[in-house]
């Protein structure tokens, strides 16, 4: 019996609201993530859907330990990340990587593609120094970018291409789990399809596990095996993707489905 590659138990991430100038008083709490328990199976693509403010991005950052959990545990391949030291978290990052939404903001504008992809290789010692150029070229090909573009800067690429660079960067350290936080939301619909196909192909070829976060169920449906619906910091529905799309039980899931623009001329 295999155990899940990622286990979240009662994870909560709360942010204090403070007011006052010289003497800050705590006047409230934002419960961004409010008790999430979830297992992610090895090799699955889990879609995490919710609106802005549902807590899905905060949950992603909590899993990545970019933001400390207020309560609960995040266990990756048997190791408890919430109780880990900084050195242990850095080691864990070889297994767990993130792709962010905004392809303009997530790439350092002063680094060439080569530098951006070489950085994780060097930081984690993935390959010997003399093998780095070859590995960068291979990574670019893997995401459908011509290696001859490696000396260019992010601003010289389109949004879709920048997202490919961000995905290549996440793949550089050969992670087992990738969290993609709204990776296609900032792209044209026609380019979304390209990136979705790329991600689906990479998951299959490399036997990756992926958490795919989005606000759009139509996009998530294609790439996910299971879908978790998040609302106000909690998971309100979880199940196989087709079941969720065709037989949603929670009213919020139904609302998300009805918001998908329909192409319907029967009226």
């Amino acid at each position: 019996m295999s155990f899940p590659i990622l286990q979240l138990k009662d994870v909560a991430t709360h942010f204090p609201i403070e007011s006052g100038w010289l003497r800050k008083r705590r006047t409230g709490t934002v419960r961004a993530v409010d008790g999430v328990t979830l297992d992610v199976e090895r090799g699955e693509v889990l879609g995490l859907v919710g609106e802005s403010g549902s807590g899905k991005s905060t949950l992603a950052r909590t899993i990545m330990q970019l933001v400390p959990a207020t309560a609960g545990t995040v266990v990756l391949e048997g190791r408890n990340l919430t109780a880990a030291s900084a050195a242990e978290i850095k080691a864990a990052r070889r297994g767990l990587q993130m792709v962010f939404q905004d392809p303009f903001a997530s790439l350092n504008p002063r680094l060439t593609v080569y530098a951006a992809l070489a950085e994780p290789l060097l930081v984690h010692g993935v390959v010997p120094r003399d093998r780095v150029p070859a590995r960068v070229a291979a990574l670019m090909e893997q995401v459908g970018l011509a290696p001859r573009l490696m000396r260019k800067y992010p601003h010289e690429f389109s949004g879709g291409q920048r997202q490919r660079i961000a995905i290549a960067r996440a793949l550089a350290v050969e992670p087992r789990v990738i969290i993609a936080d709204e990776p296609v939301s900032a792209l044209d619909v026609s380019i979304q399809a390209q990136i979705l196909n790329l991600l689906a192909g990479l998951v299959r070829k490399m036997n990756l596990t992926m958490i795919f976060i989005a606000h759009d169920l139509a996009v998530v449906k294609h790439i996910s095996d299971r879908i978790a619906v998040m609302y106000q910091g909690k998971i309100v529905e979880l199940g196989p993707a087709l079941d969720i799309m065709e037989r949603p039980s929670h009213p919020y899931t139904r609302a998300l489905i009805s918001a998908i623009p329909r192409v319907d001329f029967s009226a």
Partner: protein
């Protein structure tokens, strides 16, 4: 007599690396009360087309090379700046994609909302505030009397977009140009904003030009559609016709790649490749390199937009010759 008649608009950007032909011969008309959709990928020229109409293209490096845009007897592209200022914001208004950068973060909503009224009308502050408040309520802001005095950062993205719509409509314009107003919003908020726009259009009787990269959004909102690619219109049709019988390979490819229309389990349809570099002259049809149905003459002959059998227009040579 159409409300707006654009003829052969050409707008270029003169940059160090060459002249970018962003809008390359665009003609269309807009009737009173009509909703016209302009759909195309990033770089198709749809936004620059709208900016050109309202004098919002930075010149330099931009330049309107040719064309006319007739609105109520005035050519918007060649009129005195004072006349354009009188029309812009009062009779033709525009809303933009990112409401946070379109709202001044330092000013309260009240000040920004009534600014168009002060510029275009002789009105007292009390009357202007009353009109502004009424508009804020009309766009669905709850507790409007109190929110009127808030700052933009105190609103969510969807609410900021509603505020921007209120600002645009406070002078009751005849035309609203909406440039990707829902692209930056969640799908549920998008649905609400689209419903709001439909309702306001009915109530105010205005014409709307709706620019987007998302064909699915067009289907629920627009009467007619222009499909743009590489600075030109490649197809124009009534919305239903466009969806049921698209007459250009690019339109068909766009339609096929809508995720919500495709069943799970197979790879999504994509349009391979990327839009062309607009600084390079194009030989033949700009879409040919990416077109599944391109033939030899597609790469040598420049296609022109023409109606097929007195029906909707397409700029595909093969469709015009009944080859496909």
């Amino acid at each position: 007599m159409p409300l707006l008649e654009v003829t052969d608009l050409r707008t270029s950007f003169h940059t160090r690396s060459g002249i970018l032909r962003a809008v390359d011969g665009v003609s269309f008309s807009l009737e009173k009360g009509e909703t016209l959709g302009i759909v195309g990928e990033s770089g198709s020229g749809k936004t620059v087309t709208c900016y050109s109409l309202l004098g919002l293209v930075p010149t330099p490096p931009g330049r309107i090379e040719s064309g006319t845009a007739m609105f109520d007897g005035t050519d918007l592209l060649h009129c005195p700046p004072a006349r354009l200022r009188d029309i812009r914001g009062r009779r033709i208004a525009m809303i933009f994609q990112d409401p946070m950068t379109s709202l001044n973060p330092y000013l309260r909503i009240s000040e920004q909302l009534i600014e168009p009224l002060f510029i275009h009308e002789d009105i007292s502050k009390a009357d202007a505030l009353a009109r502004g408040l009424a508009m804020l309520e009309a766009v669905g802001i709850q507790d409007a009397a109190r929110r009127l005095h808030s700052y933009p950062h105190e609103f969510s993205g969807g609410m900021r977009q509603r505020v921007m719509i209120a600002m645009a409509l406070v002078t009751r314009p005849e035309i609203l140009i909406a440039d990707e107003p829902t692209t930056a919003l969640d799908v549920t908020v998008q649905a609400q904003i689209l419903e709001l726009l439909k309702k306001l259009q009915r109530d105010l009787g205005m014409a709307v030009i709706f620019v987007t990269h998302d064909l699915a959004v067009i289907s629920g909102l627009c009467d007619r559609v222009l499909v743009m690619y590489a600075g030109r219109i490649v197809e124009t049709a009534a919305t239903r016709t466009l969806f049921q019988a698209p007459r250009h390979p690019y339109t068909r490819a766009l339609q096929r790649s809508i995720p919500s229309l495709q069943p799970k389990g197979r790879e999504l349809h994509t349009i391979p490749g990327m839009p062309p570099d607009l600084s390079q002259p194009v030989a033949g049809c700009a879409f040919a390199p990416r077109c599944e149905q391109a033939a030899g003459h597609c790469r040598t002959t420049d296609p022109r937009l023409a109606a097929v059998n007195n029906g909707p227009a397409t700029a595909c040579l093969r469709v015009q010759n009944s080859e496909i």
